[in-house]
Symmetry: C2
Subunit: 404 residues, 2 copies
Amino acid sequence: MSIQDKFSKLGTDNAPGQEVRQQSSDLNTLLRGETLPGVPVDFSHGDVDAFTPTPGAFEIFADGVRRGGQQAYTEYRGASRIREELAGKLAAFTGAPVDAANGMILTPGTQGALFLAVASTVTRGDKVAIVQPDYFANRKLVEFFEGEIVPVRLDYMKSDAAAGLDLDQLEDAFRQGAKVFVFSNPNNPAGVVYSEAEIRRIADLANIYGATVIADQLYSRLRYTDVAYAHLRATGINPANVITIMGPSKTESLSGYRLGVAFGAPKLIERMEKLQAIVSLRAAGYNQAVLQTWFSEPGNWMDERIRLHQAIRDDLLKVLRAADGVEARAPQAGSYLFPRLPELAVAPPDFVRILRLQAGVIVTPGTEFGPHSANSVRLNFSQDHAAAVNAVERLVELVGRYRA
Amino acid sequence: MSIQDKFSKLGTDNAPGQEVRQQSSDLNTLLRGETLPGVPVDFSHGDVDAFTPTPGAFEIFADGVRRGGQQAYTEYRGASRIREELAGKLAAFTGAPVDAANGMILTPGTQGALFLAVASTVTRGDKVAIVQPDYFANRKLVEFFEGEIVPVRLDYMKSDAAAGLDLDQLEDAFRQGAKVFVFSNPNNPAGVVYSEAEIRRIADLANIYGATVIADQLYSRLRYTDVAYAHLRATGINPANVITIMGPSKTESLSGYRLGVAFGAPKLIERMEKLQAIVSLRAAGYNQAVLQTWFSEPGNWMDERIRLHQAIRDDLLKVLRAADGVEARAPQAGSYLFPRLPELAVAPPDFVRILRLQAGVIVTPGTEFGPHSANSVRLNFSQDHAAAVNAVERLVELVGRYRA
């Protein structure tokens, strides 16, 4: 593949946060009616001014700066002191041991971990099973490393009892030779959590076919009332074949510090560290200190954060479900809503741009997450509650205005 | 190339900062004499406790945190406000315009910039001209992307009037089809600065052969008395074919914030941003704020910093040159010394480990920088002055003890 082709596939024009680089001059002929007033809401990512970073994060960063050279320069895989402290917490959370010395790497955000994990397992021509829909970087990473994507469908609207992964298709993918399976749990964008039966079957299939699984569990702490969560790494999968990725960027609103962690198979972690050495050296040294706040939040801070998100979720679902032709499954975890919109008179990408222009509402187009999601949009509802409700009301109004 | 081969080439055991992961149990049979007392010095990187970060860096970071969401989430290429401010400063420093909107990207460290630049220009089978010796990541990055290295010799001991690049070999490399040339100026590890004639010839050759040049100018601010410096980007090279990389990690001691910048050809910067979106999203948002201190240091802070480094350089050179069989060219910029040691009775990698064990002195082995540098070691002399002098005295004593 030529380098031109490689990069032309790597589009970011519709990626969250990149809207400022779009032109909108050609939309005028499509517009219907007036602009809707209201507080602009950027649903492409969470609002860390509405849900602020973990208390004490800045102070512990400041301590890191005071610590000087030993905090600025760490092993490429991150400071051993911080890894050791974190390993115990992650083992407790996921229900399986974590090897701080050899089975863990700190990265610049979970994006950094995902990049290193895919780069360490996928090379030209390798078949990789990817869920549709799922986080757009999964697909882009496999394409960048010239792997071949074998899609596995997630029918997240089918039943509330499971995420809806087509397990037969997953087995087919392994049978066809897929050596790696990458998925996010809870699913990004749909917010659905894989059932224990699904996770057990994924583990069994990975064991049978000797496949490596990269489990992106970025949102696995923000779980709503009565949602059970099965950690793949604690479900009988061969520990040499699984990498789990987490980080404090979302629920904990620490994205501005760019921190993530990957843990699992030492052989793969070693590759990831070798690569990190030439990609970015390490997660910023002072920032690593902030990981000490993780899983050590004060009192019932996390419970309260979950409660507030659940309340926003419920209110947004009411607005969406009251709208003619809009379908939405309730997310079980995380802060993404992925409603399916009815047929519109304008193309989905144009509707997304119109939303921004006429309603001050930024969403991420469904096409970013898979080829069958053109009629859906993703909303990160970690926002000011009232502003989010009003913004979704405007979205619904424009859906009505632009219906086919 | 299999993924095993790809990663087995990516060794980091001898990389700076990774010494803690080495075993030393097998050295005992080689040891001669007693351990030398003295303050341990880690010359593998600068000591940010001896030369502390730019005044005000932490406070401006704190302002960034207070700014909240708009500082945490920026475009992948970095906050436009910060890019705009920086573009003027970099244009003034390098003597050619910088396009803040389309010709610049902020990255996690200069390592991040170098990774993205190589990834955006080199793909499988591409020939890439690489200087020997030069920064080890240049070689590793080309190997990772399965490019083919065409070495170009730097005879840095030849003359004080030039860095010593073999320009005929460079032209040969281009003639053989090298499409990219990567080099650091000042050279890492040798600390030599390319003469204006060398830079002009590099520009001419790049123009004639249509090659892209990635110029790593990380240390270009720390220049000693009466050293002239020619910026490649201001020397007639086709602006569509050059990327310049800088950052405040070294001279300014801001490595703990992981900040770098690449500027130049918009087409390449665009690729770099697309890739950054799946590698690490962005340089940590809050950290980006710290770039506001760059090129805006108080009063004569930078002059004083240069003066102090020059004094250390001169004292270390005296110790090294007084030692029998040790050769060292005076670095013209940056804080690296790259002395050539005489033949020893132990293999060079063992000597490096012995130095650590018996003298408390950590250096980076010359083999990291090229195949012809096995007898050299690199010292980053941005250290406490007295401790550095004593450490180099211990190094010299062990050279004597282990001579062949």
